[in-house]
C-alpha cells in the first residue's frame, strides 16, 4: 500500500525517495529522519514513516505539513554477500535454496518478513559453515513461500536434487519454509529412486534478522548430517527448544507439531535417524538406513494431482466423498477418527459414499486424526464396514505422507491391484511394523 495521494504528491514535489533524509514541519512539530517506505499493514496512509537519528521509526502525520529534502541520504537494504572460503579439503555439499523463513529478511514494503532473500545472504549469516563443509554450489530452482507450493514444485525440486546427487557433491541440503516442509520431504522420499547420498531438508522457525536465529544451528547440523553415510531423505531441525542439538527426522514420518517452536518437527510413530550436532558427526539412533553408495540416483516425478485429503467432523456427511468423486478425483485420503472411524450407521453414514467411490475406481485410503498409533480395519463393527466397502487402511502412515504417497502412486499406475500393493508396501520407511513405547510423543 502506498502513501496517500497527498503525501505521495508532496514527496514527489521535493523528489524524495525512501532512503532520503526528509524534514516534516507542521504547526506543532518538526521531525527529521530517513524516509522509509510505507508498510502494508497497520500504518496510516497519511503518516510518513521516518527513521530518526536515535534509531527509532516513528509515524508522523504529513497532513498540512511542509516537507523538505535534506542532505544525507542513505542506501537502504545493503546486505553482506557470502564469499565461500576455498576449503577444498572439506567434503563438498550442494545447497538447494527455495525460500522460507530461513532465507528472509526485514521488508519495509509490507512491514513483514520478506521471503526472497538471495541464498548467498543466508550463508553470510552462518560463516561457520565454511568450517564444516565446502558448500561449493548453491542452486535455487524457485523461491517461494511453502504455502504457495504444489506438486509441480516437488517435481522440479526432485529433479534438481537428483542432479546434485549425481554430481561430485557428497550430499545435498535443501532449505525451505516450514509450513509444508514435511510434505516436501515425503514427496522427495518417494520421487528419488536409488538414492545414493544424504538429502537433508532444513529450515528456520526464527528469521535470520535476529540474533536468536535458529536456522544457523539447523544449517550447521544439516551440513554435518549431509556428510554422513545416511543416504535417505531427512529433516534436520532443532531437537529441543535449546540450541544444543538437532534431530535428523525421517522424511516420511515427520510432522510439524507446533506452530512456532524451534523443535516443532517431530518424527511420529518411529525414532529419528540421529541426533545431529553443529560441531561433530551425528549420533545415530537407528541403523536401518540405506548407506551411501556409488550408484546413480534417478527421479520418478510422476504425480497425480487429483488427490484429496478430507477429514470428518462430528455430523459430517458422506457427501464430502461424493463431491470429490463427482469432480473426477482419483484418490482420497480420509483422516478418520482414532482407529479409522467415520460415521457408519447414522443417517449421514459415509459407507455408501465410500462404496460408490471405490466402485467408480477412486482409491480411498484411511489414516487417523490421532496421528500416533495405527488404524485398524477390524476392531469394531463400524470399522469393518468401511474396510468392506473397499477402503485401504494405511496402518501408522501420517495423513500428509499418505496424501503425497497416493499422488506418487497414482501418478505411476491406475491399476487397482498395483495401487493397493504399492500403497501398502514400505517404500521409504513410511511404515513402522513395530510401534514401541518410545515412538509416542518423542
Amino acid at each position: 500500500m502506498p502513501y496517500s495521494r497527498d503525501v505521495e504528491e508532496g514527496l514527489k514535489k521535493i523528489k524524495a525517495q525512501p532512503g532520503d533524509r526528509v524534514r516534516v514541519k507542521s504547526k506543532k512539530q518538526v521531525f527529521e529522519g530517513v524516509l522509509l517506505p510505507k508498510p502494508e499493514l497497520g500504518a496510516s496512509a497519511s503518516n510518513l514513516i521516518l527513521k530518526l537519528d536515535n534509531g527509532y521509526n516513528v509515524g508522523v502525520s504529513a497532513k498540512g505539513a511542509r516537507l523538505e529534502k535534506r542532505e544525507g541520504s542513505v542506501a537502504l537494504e545493503k546486505f553482506a554477500e557470502w564469499v565461500p572460503d576455498a576449503r577444498s579439503e572439506l567434503p563438498k555439499l550442494s545447497l538447494v535454496a527455495t525460500g522460507g523463513t530461513i532465507s528472509t529478511r526485514v521488508d519495509y514494503q509490507t512491514g513483514g518478513v520478506y521471503m526472497l532473500g538471495e541464498p548467498k545472504e543466508l550463508l553470510a549469516k552462518v560463516p561457520e559453515l565454511s568450517d564444516v563443509a565446502n558448500i561449493h554450489r548453491i542452486e535455487s530452482p524457485f523461491r517461494k513461500a511453502t504455502e504457495d507450493m504444489d506438486h509441480s514444485d516437488w517435481q522440479r525440486l526432485a529433479q534438481e536434487v537428483v542432479k546434485e546427487l549425481n554430481s561430485d557433491s557428497q550430499g545435498v541440503m535443501v532449505t525451505m519454509g516450514t509450513d509444508i516442509l514435511h510434505y516436501s520431504a515425503a514427496a522427495l522420499s518417494f520421487m528419488i529412486q536409488d538414492q545414493n547420498k544424504p538429502v537433508v531438508f532444513t529450515a528456520a522457525q526464527r528469521s535470520p534478522d535476529r540474533g536468536s536465529f535458529d536456522g544457523a544451528m539447523n544449517l550447521l547440523c544439516a551440513a554435518q548430517f549431509a556428510k554422513s553415510d545416511c543416504a535417505e531423505v531427512s529433516i534436520v531441525m532443532h531437537g529441543t527448544s535449546s540450541d544444543d542439538y538437532c534431530l535428523a527426522n525421517v522424511g516420511t514420518k515427520t510432522r510439524k507439531m507446533h506452530t512456532s517452536r524451534r523443535d516443532a518437527f517431530r518424527t511420529v510413530n518411529a525414532q529419528p535417524w540421529a541426533k545431529a550436532w553443529p560441531d561433530k558427526p551425528p549420533h545415530f539412533l537407528r541403523r536401518d538406513y540405506k548407506k551411501r553408495s556409488d550408484g546413480v540416483a534417478k527421479a520418478d516425478v510422476r504425480f497425480e494431482s487429483k488427490v484429496a485429503h478430507v477429514k470428518p467432523w462430528p455430523g459430517a456427511s458422506g457427501e464430502l466423498i461424493d463431491f470429490f468423486v463427482k469432480k473426477k478425483y482419483h484418490g482420497i485420503v480420509v483422516e478418520a477418527w482414532a482407529l479409522g472411524h467415520v460415521p457408519a450407521t447414522a443417517k449421514h453414514s459415509w459407507i455408501p459414499s465410500i462404496q460408490n467411490a471405490v466402485e467408480k475406481g477412486v482409491t480411498v485410503c484411511f489414516t487417523s486424526q490421532s496421528l500416533y498409533g495405527r488404524v485398524h480395519p477390524f476392531v469394531y463393527a463400524n470399522l469393518r464396514k468401511a474396510s468392506f466397502a473397499g477402503a485401504l487402511y494405511l496402518e501408522d502412515l501420517l495423513p500428509e505422507t499418505a496424501f503425497v504417497k497416493l499422488g506418487c502412486v497414482l501418478g505411476r499406475t491406475k491399476n487397482p491391484a498395483r495401487i493397493r500393493e504399492l500403497m501398502l508396501a514400505n517404500l521409504a520407511h513410511e511404515y513402522n511394523d513395530r510401534l514401541q513405547q518410545a515412538d509416542f510423543l518423542g
Binding site: I49, V60, V106, Y108, T259
Partner: protein, 597 residues
C-alpha cells in the same frame, strides 16, 4: 568543567496486570525455576545493513546463555518460541499519561522496534521498544530541563550468574513494561542530575501505576566533557549515588585526557602489538590463583607497554586506576579474571619485587616503560593482552557503556550506535488518535493529593510523606479496609522499621489487604500489626489466621478480657505490660472504668 554535558535516562517498571507483549503477569515472583533453556546469540545486520559494533563485540565472545523458566511468569513469548501479542494498551496509557504530564509531544503513530541486545538479557536477542513522545520539559531549581524522549519498552531478563563464556538469566522479569524517560544533555552537574532523577521519580509515582521494590526504578547516565566522549553508565539504582556517578565520570574523563597528554609528552608515536613473552617461571611461585592454572596447562604471558611506566597505577578517580580500565577490556573481551601490571604491589599476588624485575628484564623495559601479564590458556592469553594493549594505547576517551558500581563505574562494552534498531514486524503500528489522548487524565498534582490525605485525617507531615511514597496507591486501597491513620502508620513507620531489621517487606497488595482486614475485624490489636506483617511477609503461603494463633496474637476482648482483668486485679499497668500485643488499651480502659465503683 569545559564542555560538560550530562543527561539522564530513567527506567521505571509499570504496574500493569500483564507483561508488554504476552499474557504473563507483570510481576517478579518468589517462584523457583522449573526448567532451563540454553541458547547462543549471533551478530546480525540492522535495517541499514550494518552490524552493530556492540552486538558484534558480544557475539565474538561466543557465549552460551542459560534461561531459567518459571511456571507462572514466563511463557513461550519470553522464550522466543511464539510471536508477541499486541502491545499492552494499559502500559501505553500510563506512558501517555506521563508524556502529557511532561508536556511532551505524543507521536501520531507508535512503531515498535527491535533493539539489538547481544548480552543475552533478551532471549530473542532484541528488546522491543517504542518511541511514544518527544520534546517535553521538567522544571528544576536550575531552570527547565528538556525531556528528549519518552519510550515504552520491555524489561530485560534478570542476571543470575555470569561466568567465563556463560551467563544465566531468569525469565520472570523479561517483558515487564518499562517506561524510559530521557532528558537532553543539559544537566548542570551531579547534584542537578540527582534533582532531576528525584523529580521524575516523583512524577512517575504520582500516576500510582508504577511498580515498587528493589530494581523497579533505575537510572542510566550519559556524561561527556570537552576532549572526552559520550559514556553511558547503566544501572544506578540508588538515587543518592547519582550525583557522585555524574561528577566522578566527568573527573575520570578529565584524568584520562591528562594521562594521554603525558604519554604523548613521553614521545609516543604509535606502536604495534608484538608477540608476548612467556613468564610462566615467574608466576609458578605465585599464589595458587596463578600457580594452579599454570599446572593445568595455562601459560603466563607478558608484553611491554612502552612509555606507560607509572601510568597504569595512576588513580583516575577514587578506587579506579588506569590499570583497571585496561584490565577491564581484557576481561570483557576474553573472560580472563584480570591482568597483572608493573605498577602493582607484587606481594598482592604472592610475588616479590625481584620477580617483577625479572619480568621487566625479560621484556627489556626501561624506566619509562610498563608491562602487563596474564595467566590463561595461550589461545586466551594472547587476545587478552592484545585487548589490554589496544585499550592502553587508544589515547582517547572511548565511547563506552559502563556499569555503575557504587559511586564509580566499570567498562561493560563499546557504546552501541543507532544501527541497533529495526522494526518489530510481528506487531502492527499503533495509531495514537487525538481523542484517545485527550481522554487520558493528567495525574493529580502532589498538592492536590496532599489535600486529599489531610481530609482523610492525616496530619500535614504524614500527608506530605505519603504523597512522596511509592506506597500511596496501596495506601488508597488499604484505606477501604481500615482507618487511614493506622494504614499510614503501617506503611510509613512499621514497614521501614521492619526493613531496617533486615525483613524484606514487599508482598502482594492482596496480602496487605488481608493483614489490615484482620485488624479491622478486631481479630488483632493495632500493636500486633508489626508482628502480623512480619509473619505475612516471611510465610507467603501460610494462612494469616494460623500465624496469629501460632504467634499467640489473638486479641483478648469481651468476656475473656473481663476474666483476664479480674485475674490481674484490674491493674491497667500490669495488664498492658503482660499483654501489650493482645489487649486493646482503649477497650481495657473502658472496661476498667465500668468496674470502678
Amino acid at each position: 568543567m569545559l564542555g560538560f554535558k550530562a543527561g539522564l535516562e530513567i527506567h521505571q517498571r509499570l504496574a500493569t496486570s500483564r507483561k508488554l507483549f504476552c499474557r504473563c503477569p507483570a510481576a517478579v515472583g518468589e517462584e523457583e525455576p522449573h526448567g532451563t533453556l540454553t541458547r547462543k546469540i549471533r551478530a546480525v545486520a540492522g535495517e541499514l545493513g550494518h552490524v552493530d559494533p556492540a552486538a558484534a563485540f558480544e557475539a565474538a565472545r561466543g557465549k552460551t546463555f542459560h534461561y531459567q523458566l518459571f511456571p507462572s511468569s514466563s511463557c513461550l513469548v519470553e522464550q522466543d518460541e511464539e510471536p508477541p501479542t499486541e502491545l499492552n494498551s494499559e502500559a501505553l496509557e500510563i506512558v501517555l499519561q506521563v508524556s502529557k504530564a511532561l508536556g511532551a509531544r505524543v507521536l501520531d503513530e507508535v512503531h515498535v522496534m527491535r533493539k539489538t541486545v547481544a548480552d543475552g538479557s533478551a532471549v530473542s536477542a532484541f528488546q522491543r521498544t517504542a518511541l511514544v513522545a518527544v520534546d517535553g520539559k521538567l522544571e528544576t531549581s536550575q531552570g527547565f530541563v528538556g525531556i528528549a524522549t519518552v519510550c515504552l519498552e520491555e524489561e530485560s531478563a534478570g542476571i543470575v550468574e555470569k561466568t567465563l563464556g556463560q551467563s544465566t538469566y531468569r525469565l520472570d522479569r523479561l517483558g515487564i513494561p518499562l517506561i524510559e524517560i530521557a532528558t537532553d544533555a543539559t544537566l548542570k552537574n551531579g547534584a542537578h542530575a540527582r534533582e532531576v532523577a528525584e523529580k521524575v521519580g516523583g512524577l512517575l509515582r504520582s500516576t500510582g501505576r508504577v511498580q515498587r521494590g528493589i530494581g523497579s526504578i533505575r537510572q542510566d547516565l550519559n556524561v561527556s566533557i570537552a576532549g572526552g566522549a559520550r559514556v553511558e553508565i547503566k544501572g544506578a539504582q540508588e538515587l543518592r549515588d547519582v550525583a557522585d556517578l555524574v561528577d566522578f565520570e566527568a573527573k575520570r574523563q578529565q584524568s584520562l585526557v591528562g594521562l594521554h597528554a603525558s604519554v604523548r609528552r613521553r614521545g609516543f608515536l604509535g606502536l604495534a602489538f608484538s608477540r608476548p613473552v612467556d613468564v610462566s617461571n615467574v608466576f609458578a611461585g605465585a599464589k595458587p590463583f596463578f600457580s594452579k592454572p599454570l599446572q593445568e596447562g595455562a601459560v603466563a604471558l607478558a608484553v611491554k607497554f612502552m612509555h606507560l611506566g607509572g601510568l597504569l597505577g595512576q588513580e583516575l578517580i577514587p578506587d579506579l586506576r588506569f590499570g583497571s580500565e585496561v584490565s577491564d577490556y581484557a576481561k570483557a573481551k576474553t573472560g580472563v579474571k584480570g591482568i597483572v601490571h608493573s605498577d602493582e604491589d607484587p606481594s598482592k599476588y604472592g610475588l616479590t619485587s625481584a620477580d617483577f624485575d625479572t619480568i621487566s628484564l625479560a621484556l627489556d623495559c626501561g624506566s619509562n616503560d610498563a608491562w602487563a601479564a596474564v595467566v590463561a590458556p595461550e589461545n586466551v592469553a594472547v587476545p587478552a593482552l592484545k585487548a589490554a594493549f589496544d585499550r592502553a594505547y587508544l589515547l582517547e576517551v572511548p565511547k563506552e557503556t559502563r556499569r555503575a558500581e557504587g559511586t564509580g563505574s566499570r567498562f561493560m562494552r563499546p557504546l552501541p550506535g543507532a544501527a541497533r534498531m529495526y522494526p518489530e514486524t510481528d506487531v502492527v503500528p499503533v495509531p495514537v488518535a487525538g481523542r484517545m489522548l485527550s481522554k487520558i487524565p493528567l495525574p493529580k498534582s502532589l498538592d492536590e493529593r496532599k489535600a486529599d490525605y489531610v481530609k482523610l485525617g492525616l496530619n500535614t507531615e504524614l500527608a506530605e510523606k505519603m504523597v512522596h511514597s511509592y506506597d500511596w496507591p496501596l495506601f488508597d486501597q488499604l484505606c477501604r479496609q481500615a482507618d487511614p491513620k493506622t494504614v499510614a502508620w503501617v506503611l510509613l513507620d512499621v514497614k521501614p522499621q521492619l526493613r531496617r531489621q533486615g525483613v524484606n517487606v514487599e508482598m502482594p497488595d492482596s496480602r496487605w489487604k488481608d493483614v489490615l482486614a484482620l485488624y479491622a475485624a478486631g481479630d488483632v490489636t493495632r500493636a500486633a500489626l508489626p508482628d502480623v506483617v512480619q509473619f505475612a511477609v516471611q510465610n507467603p503461603a501460610a494462612a494469616l489466621a494460623d500465624g496469629v494463633r501460632e504467634k499467640k496474637l489473638q486479641r483478648v476482648t469481651g468476656k475473656p478480657l473481663e476474666v483476664l482483668a479480674a485475674f490481674l486485679n484490674h491493674d491497667f499497668g500490669q495488664i498492658m505490660r503482660l499483654h501489650r500485643l493482645t489487649v486493646d488499651a482503649s477497650e481495657l480502659r473502658t472496661l476498667l472504668a465500668s468496674k470502678r465503683p
